[in-house]
C-alpha cells in the first residue's frame, strides 16, 4: 500500500514535471522542414483515381491526399469543418444546410462551386437530393440522417471536379499517374488547410509486404504498409512502426440467412468452436484483438459485452442441435496469406466441434472470411458501413444513445449472418527521417503534417 508520504512526493513531482513540460520552449531543431519527397509503397492497385473507386478498392488514404470532404472526423469521431465550414439540420434531420468554404479551388484551377459539390455528392449518393444554393448546398434525404456530417466525412464523399479526369481540392495534386502502378503527387501550394510540408510524394502500387519492407530496408521508400501479423516482427527487427487501433473487422460472413433453427445452432456451434485469441496471438502475431462484436470496443465502449470465448464442449452441444447436410464451404481470399491460415484454423477448430468445414478460394461458399475496414470513427456510421459491407440488414439507431447503438448491433449479430472474429491493426513502417506521421485510430494516414528530418537517407 502506498504511504501518504510517497503519495505526497508523487503529487509534488507530478506537479513539477507538468510545469517542466509546459514551460520548456519548443526546440528549434524540432520545427518542421519544408521540402523533400516522401516515397510510399502500397499493396493495392487502384485503377482509377476518383473517390468512389478508391473507396471501393480500400485505398482511402490516397483519396484523402487528393480529395477533401465537406466534413472530417477528428480522432475522437467528432465532425470538424473541411470544405464545409458550418452545417445545420432542419428538424427531422432530413434536410441539411452546409455552408461551403470560400476561396477554395480545385487542383485544375476551377473554384469550388456548390454545383460541383452537389454533382459529386449526387454521384456518390444517388438517393440524396443535393441542391446548390448560393454558397451553400442543401442535402435532402428520404430518411432522417442525424449522422449526415459523419457520412459526408466518408472518403467516398470526396468532392471532385471534371470528368473523366477528376480533380480534387486535396493537399496534393496528381502530376503523373500510371493506373495500378505508380502515382506521383505534388504539394498543393494553394491548399486551404495549408501547403503540406513535403513537396511531392511518389507512390508505388502493387508492392507485396515483403517487397515493401525490402525497399524500406534499402532506403528506396520512406513508408511501407505493415500487415497486422507483421507489426510485431517489424518492431522486433528495429523498424519504426506505427499502428492503428484494431480497426479492421475480420469475420465469417454467411451468404444466406439461416433457414431454420438447426442452421442457427450450427452457426452458434461454429462460433463457439473458434479459438480467436489463439488466432490473434499466433496467426496474427498479436496484430489484432479477438472480438465477438461488429465494432471494436474502443469505438463502441460496449463491445466487450459480445465477447465470445471458445468452448468446444458447448459447441459440440450446439452441434448436436444443429444439422449439417454437407460441409460448410468457407471462402477466403487466396491473395491474403494470413486469411488462409485463419481459415485453416477455423476449419480445425470447427472439426473439433464436429463441424465439417471445407475451404475454397473461388469466392463461392456458404460463408466467407471477410475483412471490413472500419468505415468511420462515428459509431453509427461505422455500424451502418459494416452492415452494408457484410450485407446485413440496415441497423436502426433509435435516438442514438449508447444503449440504442448496442441494441442495433445486437440485432445485427442475432441475424446469425456473421461471426465476428477479431479486429486487426494496420501498421506503417517508416524511415527514421519521417517526422510527424500520425495514424488515426482507424488507420487513416495524416500525411499533410509529415515532414522530412535531416537524417532522412
Amino acid at each position: 500500500m502506498l504511504t501518504q508520504e510517497t503519495m505526497r512526493r508523487f503529487n509534488l513531482l507530478l506537479l513539477v514535471a507538468s510545469s517542466v513540460i509546459w514551460s520548456v520552449p519548443a526546440n528549434a531543431a524540432t520545427r518542421p522542414h519544408y521540402g523533400g519527397t516522401v516515397r510510399v509503397a502500397m499493396h493495392e492497385t487502384p485503377q482509377s483515381l476518383d473517390p468512389l473507386s478508391l473507396a471501393q478498392v480500400g485505398v482511402p488514404n490516397i483519396s484523402r491526399l487528393l480529395f477533401d470532404t465537406l466534413v472530417v472526423l477528428d480522432d475522437r469521431g467528432f465532425a470538424q469543418p473541411a470544405l464545409a465550414t458550418t452545417w445545420q439540420a432542419e428538424p427531422g434531420n432530413q434536410r441539411w444546410r452546409l455552408t461551403l468554404r470560400s476561396g477554395v479551388s480545385f487542383n485544375d484551377g476551377a473554384n469550388l462551386e456548390p454545383t460541383a459539390v452537389a454533382a459529386s455528392l449526387r454521384a456518390a449518393n444517388p438517393d440524396w437530393k443535393v441542391l446548390p444554393v448560393s454558397d451553400m448546398i442543401i442535402v435532402q434525404t428520404g430518411e432522417p440522417h442525424p449522422n449526415l456530417p459523419a457520412e459526408l466525412a466518408l472518403p467516398r464523399n470526396g468532392i471532385v471536379h471534371g470528368n473523366p479526369q477528376v480533380s480534387g481540392t486535396g493537399p496534393f495534386a496528381v502530376s503523373q499517374y500510371v493506373a495500378g502502378k505508380h502515382l506521383s503527387l505534388v504539394a498543393n501550394d494553394q491548399y486551404w488547410g495549408g501547403r503540406p510540408f513535403v513537396d511531392s510524394m511518389e507512390i508505388d502500387f502493387g508492392q507485396t509486404g515483403q517487397d515493401q519492407m525490402t525497399s524500406l530496408d534499402l532506403g528506396r521508400i520512406d513508408l511501407a504498409e505493415v500487415a497486422p501479423e507483421n507489426i510485431r516482427r517489424a518492431r522486433a527487427e528495429g523498424h519504426t512502426v506505427q499502428s492503428s487501433s484494431p480497426a479492421e473487422l475480420m469475420a465469417l460472413a454467411f451468404a444466406m440467412p439461416p433457414r431454420n433453427d438447426e442452421e442457427i445452432h450450427l452457426r452458434n456451434a461454429l462460433a463457439l468452436s473458434i479459438d480467436m485469441p489463439a488466432i490473434n496471438n499466433v496467426v496474427l502475431q498479436g496484430g489484432g484483438e479477438a472480438t465477438g462484436a461488429l465494432l471494436p470496443n474502443w469505438l463502441s465502449g460496449y463491445g466487450f459485452l459480445f465477447a465470445r470465448v471458445q468452448n468446444t464442449e458447448f459447441a459440440r452441444t450446439e452441434r448436436t442441435l444443429g444439422k449439417q447436410s454437407g460441409p460448410l464451404v468457407l471462402a477466403y481470399d487466396s491473395q491474403d496469406l494470413v486469411a488462409r491460415t485463419v481459415a485453416e484454423r477455423v476449419m480445425l477448430n470447427a472439426r473439433d466441434a464436429g463441424i465439417t468445414v471445407q475451404l475454397t478460394t473461388n469466392g463461392h461458399g456458404d460463408m466467407a472470411l471477410t475483412r471490413v475496414p472500419l468505415p468511420s470513427l462515428n459509431t453509427q456510421t461505422a455500424l451502418t458501413g459494416v452492415a452494408l459491407a457484410l450485407q446485413l440488414p440496415m441497423p436502426s439507431f433509435g435516438n442514438g444513445s449508447a444503449n440504442d447503438l448496442y441494441s442495433a448491433e445486437k440485432t445485427l449479430l442475432q441475424s446469425h449472418r456473421v461471426i465476428p472474429l477479431g479486429y486487426l491493426r494496420s501498421g506503417v513502417a517508416l524511415q527514421p527521417g519521417i517526422r510527424n506521421f500520425n495514424m488515426s485510430p482507424d488507420g487513416a494516414w495524416q500525411m499533410s503534417n509529415v515532414w522530412l528530418g535531416s537524417d532522412k537517407p
Binding site: 484494431p246 474502443w298 469505438l299 460496449y302 459485452l305 444503449n403
Partner: protein, 421 residues
C-alpha cells in the same frame, strides 16, 4: 493477487460537484487549462453518472441484496474507480439495494467502466437467476487527454547527464531540494554530490566496509528511506545511512532481500551474494507465486486486479508473473536490465529496457497493455554499454549508468518520459 476493487470499499464521496458534461465544451477546457490539472476536472465528478446507473440497476433488481462487481476498462484511475464504487454503493442503498457478498446476494450487478473515443460508457450487467443478464448503460463525454495506450502517440525518452566518474557507479539517487543532491553508490563508497553552479560537486564519501570480497560485475542498489536517508544494498552487504549529526554509513554482512522496482510495491528479492543476479526467491511473493526464474532486474506494472511483474531473466528471456501464471517471452530482444517508469500522460507504468547494439546500447520505453510489450518511445542511443538501470524512488524517473565508449568513465543518467515530441 491484489484486488483494488475491494481495498477502498469504505471510501465515501467527499463532495459532489456539477456534472462536467453539462458545461459547454470550450468553457470546460478553458477552466481545466487554467487549473493546469485538467485530469482532475473530470476525475472528480463521478457521482451523477454513478447515480444514474445505480438507479437503473436498482430498477432492474428491485430492493434487496446484490453483489456488486466493478471492472475498469477505461482510463479512469484506480483511485477514481474506488470512489465510483463508493458512489454506487451509496446510490444503490438509496434505492433500497444493499451490496453484500455474492454468496448471499439475490442478484449480481457487474458494472464495467468502459469508454470509447469520446465517451465513458458505463455498463451494468444485472444477473438474476440463470436468465440472460439485463443490460443497462449510460454514457458521458470523456476528456480527450486520457487516450488509451494503443492510440497514444510515442513518448520521448529524455536523458539528463548527472555524474561522470572513473569509478564504477552502481546506482544513483537524486534528492530534490536546494541544493539538489545526488547519492552515488560505488563498490567501495557511497558519495554525496551537490549541484552547484551547474556542476555536481562531491561533498562527502562514505566508505563501505565489508569483510568478504565482492563478485565480478558487482551490482548495488540505493533505496531512499523516509526514516533515514537511504539504504545501500550490495551483494551480501547492506549499509544503512545515519543522519545523526553528520551523514554516516553503517554496513554489515546481510543476505536480506533487496526491494524490487520501488519499495512501495512491497516485493523483495534475494540477491545471490557471490553473483550478479537475484536468485529468484521472492518475499513475500507475487500473489501465490513465491519465486521467479533467476533474474537480473525486475519491473512492476499495476493492473486492475493485480500487479504484473516483469523480470529480465538470467536465461536471457523476459518472464511475466501475475500472481498465478508465469509467461515467458523469448523473442523480446531486451537486455539484462529493465526498470519501471511512469509517464505523466499515461495511466499505466511503462518499462525501460536496454538493448544491446554492436558497439553501443540503447534504452527504449515499452507499454504492456496486456502481455505484449508495445514500444512507447524511440530508442535512446547510449554511447557505451549500460551497466546499471534502476527505477528511482518516485517511479517518475530511472537511473541509468553506462560506461562511456570513448572515455571509459562511468556516466550516470536520469531518464524521464516526456509526452509529445
Amino acid at each position: 493477487m491484489r484486488d483494488h476493487s475491494h481495498q477502498y470499499e469504505r471510501v465515501r464521496a467527499s463532495y459532489n460537484s456539477r456534472i462536467l458534461p453539462m458545461l459547454p465544451s470550450r468553457a470546460r477546457w478553458l477552466g481545466c487549462a487554467l487549473l493546469l490539472i485538467g485530469q482532475l476536472c473530470f476525475a472528480s465528478d463521478w457521482h451523477s453518472p454513478a447515480a444514474q446507473l445505480a438507479g437503473k440497476i436498482s430498477a432492474a433488481t428491485g430492493p434487496g441484496v446484490i453483489a456488486l462487481e466493478i471492472n475498469n476498462r477505461s482510463s479512469i484511475s484506480a483511485a477514481d474507480v474506488e470512489q465510483i464504487r463508493g458512489f454506487f454503493i451509496s446510490e444503490l442503498a438509496t434505492g433500497g439495494v444493499r451490496v453484500w457478498q455474492p454468496d448471499q446476494a439475490a442478484a449480481v450487478a457487474k458494472v464495467t467502466l468502459s469508454e470509447n473515443l469520446n465517451s465513458y460508457i458505463w455498463i451494468a450487467e444485472v444477473q438474476q437467476g440463470t436468465g440472460e443478464p439485463k443490460i443497462a448503460m449510460i454514457s458521458m463525454d470523456r476528456p480527450p487527454s486520457s487516450l488509451s495506450a494503443q492510440n497514444a502517440p510515442l513518448l520521448t525518452l529524455h536523458a539528463t547527464q548527472l555524474i561522470s566518474q572513473s569509478q564504477p557507479i552502481l546506482d544513483l539517487a537524486v534528492l530534490e531540494g536546494n541544493p539538489r543532491r545526488a547519492v552515488v553508490l560505488s563498490d567501495s563508497a557511497v558519495s554525496v554530490f551537490d549541484f552547484k553552479d551547474g556542476h555536481w560537486l562531491q561533498t562527502q564519501s562514505l566508505p563501505i566496509a565489508h569483510a568478504t570480497s565482492f563478485p565480478r560485475d558487482i551490482r548495488g542498489r540505493l533505496v531512499l528511506r523516509k526514516d533515514h536517508l537511504f539504504d545501500a544494498y550490495l551483494p551480501g552487504v547492506i549499509c544503512h545511512s545515519s543522519e545523526a549529526g553528520s551523514l554516516s554509513l553503517n554496513c554489515s554482512r546481510s543476505d536480506d532481500p533487496w526491494p524490487l522496482a520501488i519499495a512501495e510495491f512491497g516485493v523483495s528479492g534475494f540477491f545471490a551474494p557471490a553473483r550478479n543476479f537475484f536468485t529468484g526467491v521472492l518475499t513475500p511473493g507475487i500473489g501465490k507465486q513465491r519465486s521467479a526464474p533467476a533474474f537480473y532486474s525486475a519491473s512492476a506494472i499495476p493492473k486492475d486486479k493485480y500487479v504484473l511483474w516483469i523480470f529480465g531473466g538470467v536465461d536471457g528471456q523476459v518472464h511475466l508473473l501475475d500472481g498465478i501464471n508465469q509467461q515467458t517471452s523469448s523473442r523480446l530482444r531486451w537486455g539484462s536490465d529493465i526498470a519501471g517508469i511512469r509517464a505523466a500522460c499515461r495511466p499505466d507504468w511503462l518499462v525501460l529496457a536496454t538493448a544491446q547494439g554492436d558497439e553501443e546500447d540503447s534504452i527504449q520505453a515499452f507499454e504492456i497493455p496486456d502481455r505484449e510489450p508495445v514500444a512507447a518511445s524511440q530508442k535512446l542511443p547510449i554511447h557505451g554499454r549500460v551497466t546499471a538501470l534502476w527505477t528511482q524512488q518516485n517511479g517518475e524517473a530511472a537511473t541509468a549508468v553506462y560506461r562511456n565508449a570513448d572515455t571509459g568513465n562511468y556516466e550516470a543518467l536520469q531518464l524521464t518520459l516526456a509526452c509529445g515530441q
